[in-house]
């Protein structure tokens, strides 16, 4: 197949980019077949959506329209300058009773003469109507004209900026398409609760394999949600435990918890905001918090006493909404990777800590052992789907977010309600 495709290249019959596209589509079809076998997502090359030549053509057309608006802008700028100088002149003229000037007589001749009645102006109002105005009144008219001109200039400038932005975007798209970027789309599929529970196993695989890389793929978002879900589970248990020990504080905690759920919902949709909060400090807090929440270290819990724990608990809860993204981030950092890997997976590493483990872990433990049997598919997916295209994915994410109608954004928008509703159901 490759040999056949390369032959024309050797003879130089085909232009280069046709070549590249052929090879690319060849590669992509094999990828697609893999994907289809798994029944998840599609991979389309950017160049098939936006052919390189078309993108370049569009960019060129935009450049042309920019070039054709530039003279209009210059002309308007000339009008503005004329208006300013005229304002100056009109303001100055009434200073003297008369000014000696050369009175134009046609276009090619002058008479020596002088301006008289220097405080009387005849101003065109439009449509051939003129009004006799004083200097002051004329100034007002001219200033209004100036404002109209300014607004025209502003609108033209805004239009030019838009066009420039569009042109640069198209240029970027063209170059990206030429580079052979691919777009990976995966529809959000409703998962059953059993699948959800079996998630931790593959997650471990995925997260551990990606600990060194930038692992912000759309397809992973369900897994992230599952992670959040498991954390929420832990929190629930913690709460129940706390309930037993201190019933009086239950009310406030409930409120905070409810708030945090809402926050997590919102924050998921506004991912960009999260990056602001994902500084080291908050991450650290989150780490501590998750440790406590999961009661990975029971001694700390008991030593600090419930009251102290409660305070920190509420503190952390208020920033719970922020933990959604940071967790994924922190995994990338090798320093935190260790703690969080265990903490997110919630069960896989638990076997080591088993003696201290709570009832929470006790519940989770069997779950994780079921995992490989139940869902070898997602696990395979998690690793395989991204082989060899990690860099492309990040680019891809960026481009898709720039696209107008992406399934990714839709799915990310539609995902949050699910985990939340699940929790709320559990709470009730």
């Amino acid at each position: 197949m490759h040999l056949v495709l390369f032959f024309p290249f050797l003879f130089g019959l085909f232009p280069d980019d046709v070549q590249v596209q052929c090879v690319l589509t060849d590669f992509l079809t094999s990828e697609k077949m893999e994907e289809a076998a798994k029944g998840k997502g599609t991979v389309t090359s950017l160049s098939s959506l936006f052919p390189v030549e078309d993108a370049q053509k569009a960019a060129k057309r935009l450049q042309d329209s920019i070039a054709e608006r530039q003279p209009m802008l210059d002309q308007l700028g000339g009008f503005v300058a004329d208006n300013a100088s005229l304002i100056n002149l009109v303001r100055r003229l009434p200073d003297h009773l008369h000014h000696d000037i050369m009175v134009p007589f046609g276009k090619a001749a002058f008479f020596p003469g002088r301006l008289v009645h220097t405080n009387e102006f005849l101003v065109l109002l439009g449509e051939g109507y003129y009004a006799e105005r004083t200097s002051r009144q004329t100034l007002e008219i001219l200033k209004r004209r100036g404002m109209a001109l300014d607004s025209q200039v502003d609108s033209l400038n805004a239009m030019l900026d838009d066009l420039k932005l569009e042109a640069s975007f198209l240029d970027a798209t063209a170059s990206e398409a030429a580079e052979g970027l691919v777009e990976i789309r995966e529809d959000y599929a409703e998962e059953t609760s059993s699948e959800k529970e079996s998630e931790p196993g593959p997650r471990k695989q995925a997260s551990s394999s990606s600990s060194g890389t930038d692992f912000t793929k759309v397809a992973d978002e369900d897994e992230e949600f599952a992670r959040i879900a498991s954390r929420m589970d832990e929190l629930e248990k913690e709460e129940l435990e706390a309930e037993n020990e201190a019933v009086s504080l239950e009310q406030t905690k409930d409120e905070f918890a409810a708030e945090s759920y809402d926050e997590s919902d919102e924050d998921e949709q506004v991912e960009a905001d999260l990056h602001q909060y994902s500084d080291h400090k908050s991450l650290h807090q989150n780490v501590k918090f998750s440790e406590k929440a999961m009661s990975r270290k029971p001694p700390e819990l008991t030593e600090d006493g419930i009251a102290a724990n409660k305070e920190s608990f509420t503190d952390q809860l208020s920033c719970l909404g922020l933990t959604v993204q940071p967790i994924a981030k922190v995994q990338d950092r090798s320093s935190h990777g260790n703690i969080l890997a265990s903490d997110v997976k919630s069960s896989s590493g638990k076997a080591l800590v088993a003696p201290q483990v709570h009832n929470a872990q006790a519940v989770d433990l069997p779950r994780s052992q079921e995992v490989p049997l139940q869902s070898s598919k997602p696990e395979f997916d998690g690793q395989k789907a991204f082989t060899g295209s990690i860099i492309e994915r990040t680019h891809n994410l960026r481009t898709t977010s720039r696209e107008q109608t992406t399934t990714t954004s839709q799915s990310s928008g539609s995902q949050p309600p699910k985990p939340v509703s699940r929790f709320k159901m559990q709470r009730k």
Partner: protein, 151 residues
């Protein structure tokens, strides 16, 4: 042979599009400018003749200050007129001198217009010639002349 022919045709077409047609456009634009001048001077002549006929010696007129804002201006003596003679020079004439100058100027302008018209015609002829050359190279049949009307 075929490629050689193609190359030649391409060269001719480039000559027509890149050289002759821009030349034609430029020549027409220049002729339009001269036409404008002609109109300016004929207007001036009419105006001066008008002044002469009505023997107007003082004049009150409106001066455009720009942006269609006018102000009254007084001309105490119209018998001296400054006429643009080109290159930014203005010469003080009496009415008869001005009329004399204007008639000479109009003659010159008429000559210029004639020149430009000839130039335009020759450029058009060249374009036609090259197009015919291309047609011959392609060995297409000559264009049929529109059937002349017989009266």
């Amino acid at each position: 042979m075929e490629s050689h022919l193609q190359h030649k045709i391409q060269k001719y077409e480039e000559f027509v599009d890149g050289r002759l047609k821009p030349d034609l456009v430029r020549a027409i634009a220049q002729r339009d400018k001269v036409f404008e001048q002609q109109k300016v001077f004929s207007d001036l002549r009419n105006n001066i003749e008008n002044l002469e006929k009505n023997s107007v010696t003082s004049l009150r007129t409106l001066v455009n200050l720009g942006s269609e804002v006018y102000m009254q201006a007084d001309v105490p003596d119209t018998r001296r007129i400054f006429v643009d003679i080109g290159l930014g020079f203005h010469v003080e004439f009496t009415w008869s001198e001005a009329l004399n100058y204007i008639s000479q100027r109009e003659e010159k302008i008429a000559r210029q217009i004639e020149e430009y018209t000839n130039l335009i015609a020759s450029i058009k002829a060249q374009i036609k010639l090259v197009c015919e050359g291309i047609r011959e190279l392609l060995q297409l049949p000559a264009e049929k002349r529109a059937p002349e009307r017989i009266f």
